[in-house]
């Protein structure tokens, strides 16, 4: 009887340990996280339309049906990323995510300078350089310091009704995501 109780106690403690280990390891071993979804869209340093239906191996995306979005992944180890876009829409916003898909910075059209999408994502070291001499291309950009290497941005825009669709698509098409030389 004592042996059985001891076995039960061990199994419960073991189950607890396994539970904690699994929960902590899921973010590192999941093959259907935001990064794999975005990698399936295509190459890096360019914007891709965010699809609602799931790519093979990914579940459908939980996104507001009244929004259109575009996403771009980049690696700022060598050069900062420069993200721009031109156009007028009822509302747009942009989020910067790290490799784990965590939202580390976001702005919307009201917090941007002159309602224009123009921002630079740089590592702390690159930021020191940027503050010393700002390249002419990034004169009016919002500078964002992010301590990361790989990451991605998602630009989304509100489509109140179908009459706005072409204008919003034009805005999302105008977005570009390039290394800042």
């Amino acid at each position: 009887m004592g042996k059985l109780l001891r076995a039960l106690l061990f199994s419960l403690v073991g189950a607890g340990l396994v539970h904690i280990a699994v929960v902590l390891l899921v973010p590192y071993y999941s093959d259907r996280n935001a990064w794999s979804r975005i990698s399936a869209y295509g190459g890096d340093w360019q914007f891709h339309t965010v699809a609602r239906e799931g790519t093979p191996g990914n579940v459908p995306l939980a996104i507001d049906p009244l929004f259109q979005a575009a996403a771009c992944r980049f690696d700022i180890t060598d050069l900062p990323a420069h993200i721009t876009g031109v156009g007028t829409t009822p509302y747009w916003s942009i989020s910067i995510y790290n490799r784990q898909g965590e939202n580390i910075y976001s702005i919307n059209d009201r917090t941007a300078i002159a309602d224009q999408l123009d921002l630079v994502v740089a590592t702390p070291l690159q930021m020191i350089e940027l503050n010393k001499t700002k390249p002419a291309a990034a004169e009016n950009s919002v500078l964002i310091e992010a301590d990361m290497d790989e990451g991605f941005v998602v630009v989304r825009s509100f489509v109140p009704d179908d009459s706005w669709r072409s204008q919003v698509n034009a805005f999302l098409k105008s977005t570009s995501c390039t290394p800042l030389l």
């Binding site: 042996k3 059985l4 076995a7 039960l8 061990f10 199994s11 419960l12 403690v13 073991g14 189950a15 607890g16 340990l17 396994v18 539970h19 280990a21 699994v22 929960v23 902590l24 899921v26 973010p27 999941s30 259907r32 996280n33 935001a34 794999s36 979804r37 965010v50 609602r52 990914n58 579940v59 459908p60 995306l61 939980a62 996104i63 507001d64 049906p65 009244l66 979005a69 996403a71 509302y91 916003s93 989020s95 995510y97 790290n98 784990q100 898909g101 965590e102 939202n103 580390i104 910075y105 976001s106 702005i107 919307n108 009201r110 917090t111 998602v154 989304r156 509100f158 109140p160 009704d161």
Partner: protein, 194 residues
Amino acid sequence: MLRNVFLALITLVIAFGGGTLSAWYVVTRFDGFGALSIGQWTSHPEAGTPFSDPYAKARAAREGAFPLGSTEGLAFYAYNDDQGRTLDRQCSYKIEGNSPNSRFWTLYATDRRLTALSPGTDRLPAIHSRQIFRKEDGAFMVSVSPKAQPGNWLATTGTGRMVLVMTLYDTPVGSNSGLVDMKFPAVTRISCDG
């Protein structure tokens, strides 16, 4: 001897099986700690940020969603009506009251994985605050039903459970300044066809 081996095997099976199953259940069903609940509406302001807890992180890694940032907006989910019954896609509901401060909001119905339902051609998949009719005092009433309704109508389709999602865009609700008026509309069941 054989009994000891048997006990050891049982222990291992319970430890690995129970640990994995409970982890799987929690990751697919549990949204994480730090929920912000007002009436029937729940939100997780810290979900999808580096400050979220391990359960929310594990769940986010399985969903692969692009969570909204704090300056973008905040999504609130309603799983139950005001009587505590789960929301059913075949039932009619009314959402009545006022909304917290935001630039605009959208409202739509989803399945349990939070994918928006598509109500079919020529029906709006969602309604938003800039297109709805309001009463004199600014309050609104939205009918959520599979059948056509007068006024503000959010069409649903199919069978099974549903979740109502109200996303506030450009809102101070997520910040804990305490200065925000937290008024949320109530979800009330009117009738059920099933």
